[in-house]
């Protein structure tokens, strides 16, 4: 018994990663049941991600002491470290556009999809669609508007998972309500 307990302590992080993966899986399963079209499920996941991102960025800033980003390269670095922090993976940043306003995150092992197989009739489902939402929400809170979408997805037979992030514009400080 003590051996097992020992082992449990060591793999504590790994285990809660299982829990995370499974919880996310159950959530997606529930959404599929609740909504009629896969399109709606994708939309819902994105919306949830967005709401999480809005809050998560605060946690991230508090924990990392990071300062304002001056260009998208820095932003990409930060996103990379956030992935390390919250999901325990380090995606690589690649495929910069000429104007440096668009790049890809390549994720080899997506923890969200660890035990997942997509059945054929679910080919439209963007299983990890919560991630683009999180990134969009988080960046919006630091006044960067981006567009995020999946280019490739391991679950759909691609060799890697690729998230494309495109800078749209810098958000200006909003006027207080009723002053315009």
């Amino acid at each position: 018994m003590s051996r097992q307990t020992q082992k449990n302590v060591e793999s504590k992080n790994k285990v809660s990663c299982d829990l995370f993966t499974l919880t996310y899986g159950s959530l997606v399963a529930q959404l599929i049941k609740d909504y009629d079209t896969t399109e709606d499920v994708n939309k819902q996941l994105d919306r949830m991600g967005y709401n999480i991102g809005l809050r998560l960025v605060e946690d991230f800033l508090a924990k990392t002491n990071s300062s304002r980003c001056h260009d998208m390269k820095e932003t990409a670095d930060k996103i990379q470290s956030a992935f390390k922090m919250y999901l325990g993976i380090s995606p690589s940043v690649a495929n910069w556009s000429a104007a440096n306003d668009e790049f890809s995150l390549l994720i080899d092992s997506n923890p969200l999809t660890e035990y997942v197989e997509l059945p054929d009739h679910m080919s439209q489902l963007k299983y990890s669609n919560i991630l683009p939402g999180v990134i969009r929400g988080a960046l919006e809170m630091v006044q960067i508007e981006v567009q995020v979408w999946f280019v490739q997805d391991c679950l759909k037979g691609d060799s890697t998972t690729e998230l494309r992030i495109k800078f749209i514009r810098k958000l200006e400080d909003a006027l207080p309500a009723g002053e315009d």
């Binding site: 097992q4 307990t5 082992k7 449990n8 504590k12 285990v15 809660s16 299982d18 829990l19 499974l22 919880t23 899986g25 159950s26 959530l27 399963a29 529930q30 609740d34 949830m48 709401n51 999480i52 809050r55 998560l56």
Partner: protein, 142 residues
């Protein structure tokens, strides 16, 4: 966070039962992986001890503070600092919001027990935030 997300849009009862269901599915699968290297549990109490110690530690990073049973299939688990609500309030202020945050966990326990061969009904109540009490009632086969 997911909890808060999901409870935004629906009528209260529906969303609580959904959360419970999500918890159930998660608990059911999770416990299968978590107990892979365990020996068979001796009896019901052994299973409960597992839930209170290992299971609770992996999910909430702490053990259950108090386990009681009437030896008739009712178990009461007391957690003095329940993690999902520690950030909310230490007073009664948000007490009417809190059941939503417990539903997932009820399902989690029920799913875990069900995969370990015990059918149960799990309910939760807040004693005084952030402490709360889960009551597990084992359903015996007739």
């Amino acid at each position: 966070e997911l909890l808060a997300q999901n409870s935004d849009n629906d009528s209260k009862e529906l969303c609580v039962s959904r959360l419970e269901h999500i918890g159930y599915n998660t608990g059911y699968r999770f416990v299968e992986k978590a107990t892979k290297e365990w020996q068979r549990f001796k009896d019901e109490l052994d299973v409960m001890k597992f839930i209170c110690k290992e299971f609770w530690s992996t999910v909430f990073k702490k053990q259950i503070d108090n386990l009681r049973t009437n030896h008739m299939g009712i178990y009461v688990l007391l957690d003095n600092r329940f993690r999902f609500i520690t950030q909310m309030s230490n007073s009664k202020q948000y007490v009417d919001q809190m059941p939503k945050y417990l539903a997932f966990t009820c399902g989690l326990i029920r799913g875990a027990l069900s995969n370990l061969g015990l059918n149960s009904i799990v309910t939760a109540e807040i004693v005084l935030p952030p402490s709360c009490r889960f009551q597990i009632q084992i359903q015996r086969q007739q």
